[in-house]
Amino acid sequence: MKYLLLVLCFLSHAASATLITLDADKANYATNETIELNINVNDMLPDAAELEFDIAFDPVSIEFDFLDIAPSSGVFYDFTDVNAGILTVNLWWFSALDVPAGNFNLATALFTALSDVSPVFNVVSMNQYDELGNLLQPVAVDEPWALVLFATGLIFMSYRRIKA
């Protein structure tokens, strides 16, 4: 059972979307430690020239610091964490031709742990647009499943700790 819980927790960290994957540099962080979260993109749509997504995090345990966009040329971007626990990122490539093909590292987000924490990040919204600003095919995000797995893991772990 313990191994099952670990697998569930791992899965909750490792993948939240088919297009965007989030990869923290480690699982656990001490207070004030910097969390480095790599944001990777996997195969944007051929006509896409704009990407917009939100990353959810626990604002009580971690704090957003900065976002470093990897492809600095040919793209105009903006990010904001104006809504607590949501990092909104917009990228406008000047042309669809400027969008890197295949899988690529999009950005690195830096957070600070406010307490000893095992942070959880989820892509909760994502859209792609073409050069004219038209919304392209929505990409399904398996957010509910990830949340269920994460919640289940926590419940089982709590249960085991109380029972012990």
Partner: protein, 845 residues
């Protein structure tokens, strides 16, 4: 009256007379050419503090009294003259009280005793005593040499023919020296044998015998060590000015006869015209050495003989500027050669036949240096760099002016900035300055040629000009009303002026012209500004120009005003013109108005709209208080820091201008133009810079420009200043050098001219249409670019950042930015904004 006259006469005659001083010359000429010369017949200096000159006007017996001061040396003269006498006159005691017109008696008293007199006290002769040249009106009369005592009875009949010799009206050359039997103002006289031994010469007149070296007479100081001595001298005539009013010639030692001291000159001026000499003559002269207004000379010539003719002239000495007085004194009277000089001042060329040259063009100190010590140091240096060039004539308004060859004319101008590769002549000292009398033709080069139109290298879409039109007064506007208060004296003069000004403005071809010194006579059909516009439109054969008329119909109460004319097909006034005067001036800490319109002319500001694009700009025209007259009543004197009179008055006005425009025309592209009567480094310009108005010439890196020349020094009195909203929309600026560089004699005026000058010196062209050069400013008003949120004339990534910031902050309300038409300005519109970028991928410059 008769009893009173007798009593006065009795009282005057009862007093003893002194015979030491007499009246030796009397000048009653035109304008303020009034002078009385005294001569000390004695061998001792006479203290004049007890002397009075009394003027009895029109037969009156009550006198206007001029108390004298100073002293008069033995055998010397002392000239009392009106303060505004011809500046060429010798004057020891200037006074504005010396006024007479021929029928007024003049009495010289010493401590109440009658010493001498002219005329008859108590008698009005009608217009004059005497007749012809020898009369007391419109003549100069010189006491005969044999008269050594004065006429101590001012009540007897007076006939000048008995003791006086008459000269033509305005003859002033005799002032300052007098010949009298037994002595002269040049010394004791003597017979030569007194000085015939030793170093001072011989007692015979034979050529080749011993004589006093010229260098010994000159000495190494500023005055001759042998002054007052009668000497035998030999030298070669190097310049003959006997006929031109100087009444003398220069002699210089032959090359083989010079001393080896570079501090002593080898030449002398000989004041003598009775015996003709020629250049190249070797002459032997017996005369008295003396200093005449610090020029070492020989005068009272008692013997002159031409020893040889056609002698080789002494070698000319290279004279290099800058040079101080000591260096110049060492060459006084000598043949010199200057290389590569530039003409710097022609203001009085027509009047006195004199212009100035320098080693380079000279800038007015406060145009380029900080007022105070730095400016004063530059002023001193400028003086060392320049020297006058004289035509060798003392007469005024000479018929012909020799440079540039063959003679000056309206189409053959001598412009400041023209150069003289080689200038050879005699270096001398006359009328209180060092001058060069050229030998032969002065070969000038037109290094600063005229141009037919202002040089604008970068074209924009609006042209603005600032032009001081030199007191454009049109009489009563109906052909009469002359002479005017400040401008043309006659209708003919006005027509000449009008033609020149119209030619200039026509060639400038500006859309808006700010005017200074236009007659302040309103805006009716007979007004000066209406006349000017009518003239321009006639030239264009169309109603091209119109003028701005203030709503209240006036612009202060000075005789002159500023004005604005514009091309109505190109621009349109927007709303009423704004006026800054004392009434609406910003105030200082003591709540006193900064702008005084009884000193400065009220500022006229008009916002214009470009007819084809509706872009706006404002032009504010100014004419601040001049430096010429004082503002002592405002406790604003000349502080001798280079800024002249009334600097505080101008500076306060400049502060008012800055505040007024910033308050009234916030964010409107605004151009301040006009004659600020301040050079670039002076406080008024600093005040305007502090208010955000940049000097357009500086902004466009236009250096060495000027609009005015004063005493040979260049500078900008006329300016173009732009506020922040305009400065980057100005693409070019120039000061069109059609006036400042030109001799004044080429302007419209016919005053002080001979008939031959009226056509020789005048042409109905733009040259010397004023004393100021017009300033021409080329604007390129750019249509506000959609998306250029940082107003830097492009749309780039910086604008994209601003757009994102503004929509994020909800600050943007212009729904033209709702590119996706969802009635919301948000990030979904960024893609649309990108399409506005002026460079690929919104690249920045």
């Amino acid at each position: 009256m008769k009893i009173k006259t007798l009593l006065t006469a009795s009282a005057m005659l009862a007093l003893p007379a002194s015979a030491d001083v007499i009246i030796s010359e009397y000048v009653e000429g035109g304008s303020f050419n009034k002078a009385v010369e005294l001569f000390n017949t004695s061998s001792n200096s006479v203290d004049l503090s007890t002397y009075q000159l009394k003027l009895y006007f029109n037969g009156k017996t009550q006198a206007s009294v001029i108390a004298l001061t100073g002293a008069i040396g033995a055998k010397q003269t002392y000239v009392i003259a009106h303060s505004d006498i011809d500046p060429a006159a010798h004057v020891d005691f200037p006074t504005n009280k010396l006024l007479f017109n021929g029928d007024d008696a003049v009495v010289l008293e010493n401590d109440g005793a009658i010493v001498d007199s002219i005329g008859k006290v108590g008698q009005d002769p009608g217009s004059e005593w005497g007749n012809g040249l020898t009369s007391t009106k419109d003549n100069s009369i010189v006491r005969n040499a044999n008269i050594l005592t004065g006429d101590t009875n001012p009540f007897d009949d007076f006939d000048p023919a008995q003791e006086w010799t008459g000269f033509a009206k305005d003859t002033i050359e005799n002032l300052g020296q007098h010949t009298a039997d037994g002595g002269s103002d040049n010394g004791d006289g003597g017979d030569g044998s007194d000085n015939g031994g030793g170093d001072n010469g011989t007692g015979t007149g034979n050529c080749g015998e011993s004589f006093t070296a010229i260098s010994a007479i000159q000495g190494t100081g500023t005055t001759s060590p042998l002054a007052g001595q009668t000497l035998w001298v030999e030298g070669i005539v190097t310049s003959d000015l006997q006929a031109g009013g100087y009444k003398g010639f220069f002699i210089q030692s032959a090359d083989s006869e010079v001393d080896n001291d570079n501090n002593s000159s080898e030449a002398l001026f000989v004041y003598h015209s009775a015996d003709d000499v020629n250049v190249g003559d070797r002459v032997r002269i017996q005369a008295v050495a003396n200093e005449y207004r610090t020029l070492t000379q020989l005068s009272t010539v008692s013997s002159i003989e031409v020893c040889q003719s056609n002698q080789a002239l002494p070698t000319a000495t290279v004279f290099t500027l800058p040079a101080n007085d000591t260096e110049r004194e060492a060459l006084e009277g000598m043949r010199v050669t200057l290389s590569n000089t530039v003409v710097t001042d022609t203001y009085n060329y027509g009047r006195y036949g004199q212009f100035s040259v320098a080693s380079e063009r000279l800038f007015n100190p406060t145009q380029v240096a900080t007022p105070g010590a730095e400016a004063n140091a530059l002023s001193a240096l400028n003086k060392l760099k320049s020297i006058a060039v004289d035509d060798g004539l003392t007469s005024q308004n000479p018929e012909s002016l020799p440079a540039p060859a063959p003679e000056l004319s309206a189409v053959n101008s001598l412009r400041s900035g023209d150069t003289i590769p080689t200038l050879s002549g005699i270096l001398s000292y006359h009328f209180d300055q060092y001058v060069v009398f050229p030998s032969g033709t002065v070969a000038t080069q037109a290094s600063n040629p005229r141009t037919m139109e202002p040089k604008i290298d970068v074209k924009g879409n609006v042209r603005v000009a600032s032009f001081n039109v030199l007191n454009y007064f049109n009489g009563n506007g109906q052909g009469g009303g002359y002479p005017t208060a400040r401008g043309a004296k006659t209708e003919q003069e006005f027509i000449r002026q009008r033609d020149k000004v119209i030619e200039a403005i026509y060639a400038i071809n500006a859309d808006v012209v700010g005017l200074m010194e236009i007659e302040n006579d309103g805006y009716s059909t007979t007004s000066a500004i209406a006349d000017l516009v009518n003239g321009l439109n006639a030239k264009h054969n169309a109603n091209v120009y119109a003028f701005v008329a203030p709503v209240n119909g006036s612009l202060g109460d000075d005789a002159i005003a500023v004005g604005l004319i514009y091309k109505s097909a190109r621009v349109s006034p927007k709303e009423a013109a704004k006026i800054l005067d004392t009434n609406n001036s910003p105030t200082d800490e003591q709540n006193q108005p900064l702008f005084l319109d009884n000193k400065n002319r009220p500022m006229l500001t008009q916002v214009f709209t470009l007819n084809d694009s509706e872009q706006q700009f404002a032009v504010a025209v100014n004419h601040l208080k001049s430096k010429g007259s004082d503002c002592d009543n405002l406790n604003d004197p000349d502080l001798h820091d280079g800024q002249g009179n009334c600097n505080i008055t101008r500076t306060r006005a400049a502060k008012a201008i800055g505040q007024f425009l910033n308050n009234e025309l916030t964010d409107v592209p605004t151009l301040v133009i006009g004659d600020l009567n301040s050079y670039a480094k002076e406080a008024p310009l600093t005040a305007l810079a502090d208010a955000g108005f940049v000097n357009v010439f500086d902004h466009l890196n236009k250096t060495n420009t000027y609009s005015y020349i004063y005493q040979g020094e260049l500078g900008h009195l006329d300016h173009a200043l732009a506020n922040d909203a305009l400065k980057d929309q100005i693409v070019d600026v120039t000061s069109w050098a059609i006036n400042a560089d030109e001799p004044r004699v080429l302007d419209y005026s016919m005053q002080n001219q001979q008939a031959v000058h009226h056509t020789k010196f005048y042409a109905p062209d733009m040259y010397r249409s004023s004393d100021h050069d017009p300033v021409v400013i080329e604007l390129n008003l750019v249509q506000a670019m959609f998306g250029d949120l940082d107003a830097d004339q492009d749309v780039d990534r910086n604008d994209l950042d601003l757009f994102l910031q503004q929509i994020t902050a909800g600050e943007l309300t212009d729904m033209r930015f709702d590119f996706n038409n969802d009635n919301t300005l948000d990030r979904r519109d960024v893609r649309g904004f990108m399409q506005l970028c002026t460079r690929s991928r919104c690249a920045t410059e």
